[in-house]
Amino acid sequence: MSYEKGREITISVLKFNPRSAVSKPHFVDYKLEETPGMTLFIALMYIRENLDPDLSFDFVCRAGICGSCGMVVNGKPALGCRTLIANYPEGKLELMPMPAFELIKDLSINTGKWMDDMSVRVESWIHTNEVVDIAKLEEKVDPDIADETFELDRCIECGICVASCGTKLMRPDFVGPVGLNRVARFEIDPHDNRTAEDFYELVGDDDGIFGCMSLLACEDHCPKHLPLQNKIAYLRRKLVALR
């Protein structure tokens, strides 16, 4: 295997351990050689294995499917595993942990806890009193409705929409685009018997659907390209009509 020597790149990471009595937030620069197709996953693993075994970050699938590796790359939240170094011609990347979530250490943040709280808050599950006999034929679903539900079910809870959100900065308890998308998803699902009134109870306030200022950075940065703008507007029209 031979390839041309890659350019030297600099990855600058904000390091901080909030559990340490002595740690203070500071940037550390790492210099390394770019390899073909190098992503931030590959680069950060290289740094940990060769330059700084103390560097904390989160990756799981490294394929843009699990939503673990949201981080702020040159000022914009993105999935680290999908960030190609080649797309940064100046060869410099500055990484910070995403805001809005509890910091664990360095680039590692506690998105799981936030997302579970959100899921419980919007009761992110099917509400029905029907008891299904699973030995019998399944309920029929219009193929278009199934596809539409799937579109919104593609959310991977990476938290990038929350980290991008202006409202979340002003209202700490804002349910976030991810929460509103989840409500929209169950609103479409024919298995869920909740009414618009039920959803109003969950998100019909300024920490919910009426808090969104439509700045739309959520949709700009969503790695799954979810139609957040449309769905939030739709939900707002639907719920505002109730009062």
Binding site: G37, E49, S56, V60, A63, I65, D116, L137, I156, F186
Partner: protein, 661 residues
């Protein structure tokens, strides 16, 4: 000492663990799930193509039933599986998918009318009837008689995982993420829970439970080139092994998937070929029909992977800076189909390789190469999921070997197994926890916790010149080169010897930071020795097994040897100071099989060393079947006469199908 008490402890928060937890919680047990990562980020989410269940709704799946699914699974396993378990599985799979539909998984549905599909590289029209409009549809996958793989586009695992995780939240299952079980608490031959490390604070705590169920997935990361997520390191299997009592089954049975993309190793689903995609060589030639004229690209995964490497060895690979590869061509399916049904595949190709696979001609071809994908081996259990040796320890999903897959797993059977095993084993597990009280001295718990505490201090005190990351990389490269798709005695022996050396070297390292929390190098330092033990089980099991069966392929023993090797490998680690596992074997009982060993349908005939009893049992099976059919008995009665099996709940009920009484 921090002790947490619960009724049922589940280690691992993927599909299998979460579904088992729902089973335990809904039976009134106080259930805790521990997970390395937020559970919705588990590797289950990466299952793309779909879940096998013989619903038989769509045109191309009409006539499907449990019997066909069973036969495909047994053949696929190269007769290595436990046929009882395969039967339990196929009868529950349709129920699992229907349950998930009720939990909100937006399965892609049948649409009445005609549509174009690509079958064997030819455009074909398929017409669906009006009476099945809106039922769950299915696509084609390798090694199956019917189109049996149900899906949500190519994000099936993701939607299933969210459905099950949300259901677990609804039932208030106590889910705790960033918690790692690093040893099991056991005394005598009984398991009492686990010692757990909090990955945020570094604190050690004990979890004491009536029953413990490990559902931590596979051990793909002992290899370098793998489709597995970085958390699939086999630690769950390792902590069971380290009890010295529990055994692991068939660890040498490792699957290599034909079409991960080069070089990142990210999987492109089997759905690509299921939907009509084909493999091409350096000349653009479609070569699979030359080797496997009948099943072509849709032969079993182990067969396709070997044929690809064979073709590359014949000089037909495509050269690249990362070595030779093969092309996967899905452009022939058309842009519309790709953008609807294979969207994640398209995104992966675009983002990681700058290729749009919907572009016509060579421009849209994606570079692929077989890589490690699935662990058929795992914690050896009874069909109920309980360890054969350590009472109170259960395992389900990829972490287990109950043993549904034998030596090769069919595509679409793994994500299906996760939820099915979660249902079946989850219920047996819950019943065990309901029926068994435990009493254990706190001193025993303290001792188990102290042992881990001391061990971590020891690691931090090592002063050696070795580097834990280099040891890990060497292990992974060694497994790729010596314990991969093509194996032989000398390579396997060399692997065992070097792995043993590497295991010793893990005590000759220096961990640079001495912190007990937020210290990734410390985590590697206690995980890598566990991974090496698992790798040793794989390599040694492979070296001893002098035959070729399913994914275990020995170039020095090309035949499947039923006369000597129709058995299951059991590995254990009786003494902590051992540097190699101890291996014993468990015979498979041909006379109890519903489907005695036969030709699998790939490659040349005459590659089997027959067992004397195979023909005898086949004659018996034929006689019983013929006699009962003549008496007017139906297929269920015949099946029950051949091989009876048990299931909990109502899982043994007949599955309703359209147009079938």
């Amino acid at each position: 000492m921090k002790i947490n008490y619960c009724d049922a402890l589940v280690i691992g928060g993927g599909l299998a663990g979460l579904r088992a937890a729902v089973a335990a919680q809904t039976k009134g047990l106080n259930t805790v799930v521990l997970s390395l990562v937020p559970v919705k980020r588990s590797h289950s989410a990466a299952a793309q193509g779909g879940m096998q269940a013989s619903l038989g709704n769509s045109k191309m799946s009409q006539g499907d039933n449990e019997d066909l699914h069973f036969a495909d699974t047994v053949k696929g396993s190269d007769w290595g599986c436990d046929q009882d378990v395969a039967r339990m599985f196929v009868n529950t799979a349709p129920k699992a998918i229907r349950e998930l539909a009720g939990w909100g998984v937006p399965w892609t549905r049948v649409r009445e009318g005609s549509r174009e599909a690509v079958i064997n590289a030819k455009k074909t029209t398929i017409t669906e009837d009006a009476n099945v409009h809106g039922l769950i549809t299915s696509r084609d996958f390798g090694g199956t008689k019917k189109w049996r793989t149900c899906y949500t586009a190519d994000a099936t695992g993701h939607t299933m995982l969210f459905g099950v995780a949300n259901e677990a939240l609804k039932h208030k299952v106590d889910i705790r993420d960033r918690k790692e079980a690093i040893s099991l608490i056991h005394e005598g031959e009984k398991c009492y829970g686990a010692i757990v490390r909090d990955l945020i604070t570094g604190e050690l705590e004990a979890y004491v439970a009536k029953g413990t169920c490990i559902a931590t997935g596979g051990y793909g990361r002992v290899f370098k080139q793998t489709t597995n997520a970085v958390i699939c390191e086999g630690i769950g299997a390792a902590i069971a092994l380290e009890t010295g009592i529990a055994t692991l089954g068939n660890m040498e049975a490792v699957q290599f998937h034909p079409t991960p993309i080069v070089p990142s190793g990210i999987l492109l689903t089997e759905g690509c070929r299921g939907d009509g995609g084909i493999l091409r060589d350096v000349d653009g030639h479609r070569f699979m029909p030359d080797y496997e004229p009948e099943k072509k690209e849709l032969a079993s995964r182990d067969v396709v992977s070997r044929r690809m490497i064979e073709h590359i060895r014949n000089g037909k690979g495509v050269p690249s800076p990362y070595g030779d590869h093969i092309w996967l061509d899905i452009s022939i399916l058309g842009r519309e189909h790709i953008e609807k049904n294979l969207r994640d595949v398209q995104e992966i190709c675009q983002i990681f390789n700058g290729i749009d696979p919907a572009d016509e001609g060579k421009k849209g071809w994606a570079p692929v190469l077989p890589m490690q994908h699935y662990s058929m081996g795992g914690i050896r259990t009874k069909p109920t999921g309980e360890s054969q040796k350590l009472a109170g320890l259960f395992a389900c999903g990829e972490a287990s070997c109950w043993d549904m897959h034998g030596f090769n797993r069919l595509g679409g059977n793994s994500v299906s197994e996760t939820v099915v095993a979660g249902m079946i084993i989850g219920n047996y597990f819950a019943d065990y926890c309901l029926a068994n009280d435990i009493s254990i001295p706190t001193a025993t718990v303290q001792k188990a916790l102290d042992a881990q505490d001391t061990y971590l201090d020891e690691i931090l005190a090592y002063e050696g010149s070795e580097d834990i990351f280099k040891i890990k990389n060497r292990m992974q490269n060694l497994m790729d080169s010596n314990v991969g798709i093509f194996r032989d005695g000398p390579k396997l022996t060399a692997a065992v010897e070097e792995l043993e050396e590497l295991l010793k070297k893990t005590k000759q390292i220096t961990v640079k930071s001495k912190e007990r929390c937020g210290n990734p190098e410390l985590e590697e330092a206690y995980r890598v020795p566990k991974m090496l033990k698992v790798a040793l089980c794989v390599a040694k099991g492979g070296r001893e097994r002098t035959e070729s069966r399913g994914a275990h392929y020995r170039e020095d023993f090309l035949k499947r040897d039923d006369a000597n090797w129709l058995n299951r490998t059991l590995t254990s680690w009786p003494d902590a100071s051992d540097t190699q596992p101890t291996i014993t074997y468990e015979e498979l009982d041909i006379m109890a099989m519903e489907m005695p060993p036969a030709f699998r349908g790939y490659g040349a005939k005459g590659m089997i060393i027959e067992h004397d009893l195979s023909a005898k049992r086949q004659a018996e099976v034929d006689e019983i079947t013929e006699k009962m059919e003549a008496e007017g008995k139906d297929r269920f009665e015949v099946q029950a006469a051949l091989m009876n099996y048990d299931l909990p709940m109502n899982y043994k009920d007949k599955n309703e199908r359209v147009g079938v009484k």
